[in-house]
Symmetry: C2
Subunit: 424 residues, 2 copies
């Protein structure tokens, strides 16, 4: 601290020499009490009715979802979009609704539905088939819960560069709606009703078979998301939420649920086609998973010194109970801090204080859930992948849907501060 | 249930005659298993790059903020906007960022700030004055917390029609940032530093005096809101959060904090002008408060039968510990269900199951916080209002800022199902 006006770059290079408790290498000390020069601040046109009604984000904020490669679809449309959440920009645990990942599975359509016209029916093996309007549903006992939704194919391209590309098909929102059990009890499920099939309004009918035990446990028929109506890309005006199950079960634009007496194999089960029906339900839950979002692939550490490593952990079977971090490629593990309450089947934020010494490092995180399940290494996970489930993908890049990949993600920090996906 | 195809309106009028456990008067029973007719569903143009990047809400969703009358401003601009959250449409506890209330207090401006150029300084009675870039701040230990922000003048027009008008100047978000104590400790507060003054970038400088005990307790320097960057109307790229204190302390577009040795009375303290400085800090906290959002003023109950009464409760001094509901104008009170965890200084959702018998009713809610403070009746609250603080308001409607009004809100349900503000 000899110079009264140290050159900023020089100061940064000296890294941890700063006097404060956190060794904040990157902070400018200032002498005297002169505030920063007034910025050339431009004002928004605040008289705009749009700004009053519904305030948008700063035009300087450019975090967006990105599409990732087309994948084959058995439907007639021939084209689907997978749009991934920018997890590298994530703060907190709520994914902004506008940035929630969207995977269309039944053609590249997003319907515009008038909620006043929408109806939801429960029928099949019930005593009283019922049709609900949206207003009917909003009169009923409701719940609000934080839950993630994740595509089972998240990480199907594990060698990609950024965390948005490797893990961006998971998002977390505050969902509000009616417990499905409330509606099923109102309809009266007959003894023979052991499964449900849920269907949306798509032209290619989506339908998922879900065991009655799950339907009666914690499934939600949701009209609210992050404080407002569910957005069109998430199923406006009504979607099914099946906490912890693979994303495809969370049927959007929900129009009916039929109570049936057995598992029906549908288009939605293409990922389970090689399985026996009586085994399928056992594999619906997302395994314990975590990923470091900062620092992550494609990012650049400006200098040595203090960093808060941050990331997300989640499990389809319950709450996250522990997150560990390694900075030496798995040689040693230390407990990360779980931030706030760990909600069941919800993204859980973790952090770990790290002072980077400027040498190569490999960052990893490992999640343990409340059942004691531990996120596996890549080698451990590969032992469970289905060898047969290979899809043609694009000409340049065959797509292998080998089953859920919840293996540990390594990020390599080079000595120049660049961060790379350590999966070759 | 004699008719196999009961006329819907007739069925609704019969109200609670339905066979299900919840007496869902408004639900259509259906015979057989015919699904609702296919809707004329229009698809979004999903090839739009904007839809991929950042998904917007349904064009059928029209919940918006509304401006409420101009109020006098001592600044040169002569015009301020107060834009209230549509609490009547609220689901869950998070206010969507686009619908977060906004009150400008220093002229009707919303600056567009480039976060790469923004600097934040801590100076004054500290050992090491510091200037932080946004990147500096994002390297530091961070926290994520749910907190409400509420204007002290919320309910300054208690006789208004809707809950948006009476209570819409409170909102709740998931805030992410650095504890102010982390930054102050890094700068090193001198013994004489007993207060801070926080300032934003506005042309009319905003500044608030905050006791050091609060600054070191739970104040946040926030860059994140509901999972993304703080929005311009909320202070992008950086705002101060002072949990539980009146909204004006939560300085937007934060550029500096000066550590000082006493309370400074500033423009921001206009609401406290008649007070002694040494008393002022004792009155900064928002009192225990609650309001029923459904059913609320201006809404219409379609028929007799089951309703879930829903609302929000909050307190500036800690977590909500109890919410009671009365359906007979305060004659009797019953415990409502607190939904999910009650976070300190955060909106807390509550609900209460009610079967409306079609007769006049008066709905009220009452909050008790963890300190045991109970939300007062209107008469009890009025005893504490400041008699002198009257502002001219608009020609048609004098504005009385009499101090925080946290009194119980009554909604009257008429026999025709219409809901009205019961404050004459």
């Amino acid at each position: 601290m000899g110079s009264r006006h140290p050159d900023r770059r020089d100061f940064l290079k000296r890294g941890a020499a700063f006097a404060g408790g956190l060794s904040l290498g990157a902070v400018d000390p200032v002498i005297g009490q002169t505030p920063p020069a007034d910025q050339d601040v431009e004002d928004q046109d605040w008289s705009s009715p749009e700004l009053i009604a519904y305030g948008e984000r700063s035009r300087y904020e450019t975090s967006v979802r990105v599409p990732h490669g087309g994948r084959p679809s058995p439907d007639a449309f021939g084209l689907v979009f997978h749009v991934a959440t920018p997890l590298q920009d994530q703060v907190g645990i709520i994914t902004p609704s506008a940035l929630h990942f969207t995977n269309t599975t039944r053609g590249a359509i997003i319907p515009n539905i008038d909620p006043r016209e929408h109806r939801f029916m429960i029928h099949g093996l019930v005593d009283r088939p019922l049709i609900f309007t949206m207003d009917d549903l909003k009169r009923l006992p409701s719940v609000t819960r934080l839950h993630f939704v994740e595509c089972a194919g998240n990480r199907s391209r594990p060698q990609h560069v950024t965390v948005q590309e490797t893990h961006g098909n998971t998002s977390c929102a505050e969902w509000t709606g009616v417990l499905l059990s409330t509606l099923l009890n109102e309809a009266g499920v007959k003894d023979a009703g052991t499964w449900i099939v849920a269907e949306g309004v798509e032209s290619v009918k989506g339908a998922s078979s879900i065991p009655m035990a799950k339907a009666m446990d914690d499934c939600l028929v949701c009209y609210g998301m992050n404080g407002e109506a569910v957005r069109p890309q998430q199923g406006h005006p009504l979607r099914l939420l099946v906490p912890g199950f693979e994303g495809i079960f969370n049927v959007k634009w929900l129009r009916r649920i039929k109570v049936v007496d057995r598992y029906y194999m549908t288009y939605n089960d293409y990922g389970h086609l090689r399985r026996e029906p009586h085994d399928a339900a056992l594999t619906y839950q997302i395994g314990p998973k975590s990923v470091i979002t900062y620092p992550s692939g494609g990012q650049q550490l400006p200098d040595r010194g203090f960093y808060e490593i941050r990331g997300l952990a989640w499990s389809g079977t319950g709450a996250v109970s522990r997150v560990e971090v390694s900075t030496d490629g798995g040689g040693s593990w230390m407990d990360a801090e779980i931030r706030g309450a760990a909600h069941p089947m919800a993204h859980t934020a973790f952090s770990f204080h790290w002072t980077w010494d400027g040498r190569e490092a490999e960052l990893m995180s490992r999640c343990t859930d409340e059942l004691g399940q531990v996120q596996p290494t890549r080698a451990e996970a590969a032992a469970f992948w289905r060898p047969g489930a290979v899809y043609p993908g694009t000409p340049d890049e065959p797509l292998r849907v080998t089953g859920q990949d919840n293996s540990i993600q390594p990020w390599r920090v080079e000595s120049d501060g660049s961060v790379h996906n350590a999966i070759a």
